[in-house]
């Protein structure tokens, strides 16, 4: 305990000395001000660049990865302390990255030594930005029915096919991609997990416009793309296991998304927008809805905390992340629905400075994807029914 307290004190002092003031302010335009890194990333400010550089130098962009691969080498408990101290000071995340959230954990478990040494340090430093090539037009919830083909050509695979909903494919440097290497085998047994550079000849992307008015994701096409054999992760035709392992990390990340927030609480937003009467929100039915949502959110945070403790005590069910993903995303959608109700017509102005170009409305629309991406809510409920509750035929 004492050691952890000492670590906390050092961490706080270091953050105070090294996190630029600008990086301690809440986002004004989160989408534009987040740091994604990558070859072509344009830093929003010098402070953002410095903050990434300093955190990456300590490996604290991926605090619990081994220091051999550029990570922070921190224990779980230390990682939690670091997060708490960052939150206490209001520090922004120095780097958001599919590499950190998804690929890294999978490479640490399934990658070759050479793959770990090549890719992990670059992820930590924010040099390479990754995208996720899982979904296809015919393979969404039924991901294992994917058809993108990779043929064995001796020293390389020849990849042909199409991915869809590939988030930030147009901005990413590399892709981790599920391909079919055996068309004869059962659908789960012919899948392989490949890594390749998005600048490889034959890769093209086409952005898709979302209901929020933004284009964070793309259709991605592969036309005779040559991928060196060394870029196969794990064993050929055994990629499904890796794909699933990675998905549990993605789910944890998406499930917790609604909770990072910071900023003003929904109660405060509503009080300012609608006003109080006798110390209570002037819209009593909305007040009740908000009170329940805020209680549910706090309760869910505690359930996430318990999930971590259960995992540490080796008492967590392996499919527990489906519960967190399902519940966290449904909660986040509810929060944004109520935010829109609290803001009323003011929140509906789509353009102009007053509404910051419809920021709340766009954010509300964006959250609708939370219960679709990374496996839909219905799919998570299927997993809970089958794997946790052991219900028949599920």
């Amino acid at each position: 305990m004492d050691q952890l307290d000492a670590f906390r004190a050092e961490t706080r002092a270091w953050l105070e000395a090294n996190c630029p003031a600008e990086m301690r302010k809440p986002f004004e335009d989160e989408e534009a001000e987040r740091c994604w890194g990558g070859r072509n990333f344009k830093f929003f400010s010098e402070a953002q660049r410095v903050w990434l550089e300093r955190m990456a130098a300590r490996g604290w962009t991926a605090p619990d990865w081994p220091s051999d691969y550029g990570g922070g080498g921190l224990s779980k408990a230390q990682t939690i302390v670091l997060r708490q101290e960052m939150r206490a000071l209001g520090c922004r995340s120095p780097l958001d990255s599919f590499g950190i959230w998804m690929l890294g954990p999978a490479l640490l478990k399934y990658g070759s030594e050479a793959q770990k040494r090549e890719h992990l340090p670059r992820i930590v430093r924010g040099e390479i930005r990754w995208c996720q090539g899982y979904s296809e037009p015919g393979a969404g919830s039924d991901l294992a029915s994917l058809q993108t083909k990779a043929e064995d050509k001796g020293d390389h695979f020849l990849v042909n096919g199409q991915k869809v909903w590939t988030s930030y494919a147009d901005k990413a440097d590399w892709i981790f991609c599920l391909v079919r290497t055996d068309f004869q085998a059962k659908k789960h047994e012919g899948i392989s997990f490949l890594l390749f550079d998005m600048t490889t000849p034959g890769v093209t992307t086409r952005p898709i416009l979302l209901i929020s008015g933004k284009s964070p994701f793309c259709e991605t096409f592969f036309d005779d793309v040559k991928v060196p054999k060394d870029n196969l992760v794990g064993v050929e035709n055994k990629g499904w296991e890796i794909a699933k392992y990675l998905l549990t990390h993605e789910r944890d990340m998406i499930g917790g998304m609604g909770l990072v927030g910071g900023g003003r609480s929904l109660g405060e937003i509503a009080a300012q927008s609608i006003g109080l009467e006798n110390g209570m929100l002037a819209d009593p039915i909305l007040r009740g809805d908000i009170a329940r949502l805020e209680a549910d959110t706090w309760a869910f945070q505690i359930a996430m905390e318990r999930a971590g403790d259960l995992a540490k005590a080796k008492q967590a069910h392996p499919a527990y992340s489906s519960f967190l993903k399902y519940y966290g995303t449904e909660l986040n959608k509810r929060r944004h629905e109520l935010t829109m109700s609290a803001l009323g017509a003011d929140g509906l102005e789509w353009e102009g400075a007053r509404s910051q170009d419809g920021e709340a409305a766009r954010a509300w629309l964006r959250t609708k994807a939370n219960s679709i991406e990374g496996g839909t809510s219905e799919v998570q409920l299927n997993i809970i029914a089958k794997r946790i509750l052991d219900l028949p035929g599920a």
Binding site: A291, D309, G393
Partner: protein, 372 residues
């Protein structure tokens, strides 16, 4: 503190689970109900609770108790919930003992010793109207000579019909105190109220009841804090009980989904039911997490635990309520019969929700605390 039980707490749970399931399964409640038992719970069983140490779970070791805290009491409440066990545990060992512990002093210690040995039953009288609204209390204590005179009417006094000593919350000037009242004293009348779930409460009327000066637990000063502590421990304990009620109703329901066939299939194969069961699982997990958190917070700093306690009671009410409603629906017609236990879980959940504030009461309390 980690949100898992410690090794000792797990041992306690195992022994409570085995003991209560063995001595007081749902059939025990049925028997008491169907024989219209004069007390509504078994005094012999309570003696065994005392022998196990459960009656004195939070009484200090110096008074013959186990000297444990809210978390351990919650562990026992959860098992009581699973088995729908009618027992003085809540009113006496949990709420009453918490009030006395918060009051302190030689007299309280003597009473705690009698609780631990199973020789004293208490009942806290707070509610007056249809809903739990301690802020709207009208029962009044007036100073008179060296002591007090008490007037008012209380309802939903859990175990009030059997208590040896009533702890009555009342206004005193511009504050509140908790008064020890002998139910046999002049001016006190106690009417047993058998509740929907075959557990018992009482309506208590106080008509110019004369009390000694030392009847006020908080000596006219600390009463409000003592009452708040007793209520909060009771709320968190009730949340733990609701977790047990919900978990057991859910376990019986998923078992039924794996056994009942319609349309040539197990009904558990129907996705409409699978998804509802999976959602319910999530709600119950959350209620468990929050309840443990609240019990730990009460153990660490009772005066700061109020918001977490409200959160726990609110979530446990909602989760148990959903669990019992889904349980009856997913059992179909058989779930409506008195012969099957599921309905008893529904009844208990309804009563326990009402106890010391339902989901709305506690959600409202949280909203007020947050300034809206």
């Amino acid at each position: 503190m980690a949100l898992v039980l410690t090794e000792e707490q797990n041992l306690l749970r195992d022994s409570a689970r085995g003991f209560i399931a063995d001595k007081a399964p749902v059939a025990h409640l049925r028997h008491l109900r169907d024989t219209r038992d004069a007390t509504g719970f078994s005094r012999d069983l309570w003696r065994e609770f005392a022998d196990m140490g459960f009656a004195g779970v939070i009484a200090p070791e110096a008074q013959g108790g186990l000297g444990l805290g809210p978390v351990e009491a919650g562990v026992i409440m959860e098992e009581i919930g699973r088995n729908l066990t009618p027992s003085p545990f809540f009113a006496t060992a949990l709420v009453g003992a918490s009030a006395l512990k918060a009051a302190g002093g030689p007299r309280a210690e003597a009473l705690l010793a009698k609780i631990a040995s199973g020789d004293l039953l208490l009942a806290l009288a707070v509610d007056e109207g249809a809903k739990h609204r301690p802020g709207a209390m009208t029962t009044q204590a007036q100073r008179s000579g060296n002591g007090f005179v008490l007037n008012g009417a209380k309802s939903f006094v859990v175990d009030g019909h059997a208590a040896d000593l009533l702890l009555v919350a009342a206004r005193l000037g511009d504050t509140v105190d908790v008064f020890m009242v002998d139910p046999k004293a002049a001016g006190v009348s106690v009417e047993r109220t058998i509740m929907t779930d075959a557990h018992n409460a009482a309506r208590v009327t106080l008509d110019n009841v004369a009390l000694d000066a030392d009847a006020a637990l908080g000596a006219g000063e600390r009463g409000a804090a003592i009452l708040e502590t007793a209520l909060n421990v009771g709320r968190a304990g009730s949340a733990a009980e609701l977790c047990g009620v919900g978990a057991e109703a859910f376990a019986r329901t998923t078992a039924y989904l794996k056994e009942r066939k319609q349309f040539g299939r197990l009904i558990g194969e129907f996705q409409a039911l699978q998804h509802r069961a999976a959602h319910l699982y999530c709600e119950l997990e959350i209620a468990q997490a929050v309840t443990l958190k609240a019990l730990q917070a009460l153990a660490a700093a009772p005066d700061k635990a109020g918001p977490l306690v409200s959160l726990a009671k609110a979530r446990a009410c909602a989760a148990a309520d959903l669990a019992v409603r889904e349980a009856v629906q997913m059992h179909g017609g058989i779930g409506m019969t008195d012969a099957v236990d599921i309905g008893l879980f529904m009844k208990r959940a309804r009563v326990a929700q009402e106890l010391f504030g339902d989901e709305r009461f506690h959600a409202d309390r949280l909203a007020r605390l947050r300034g809206y």
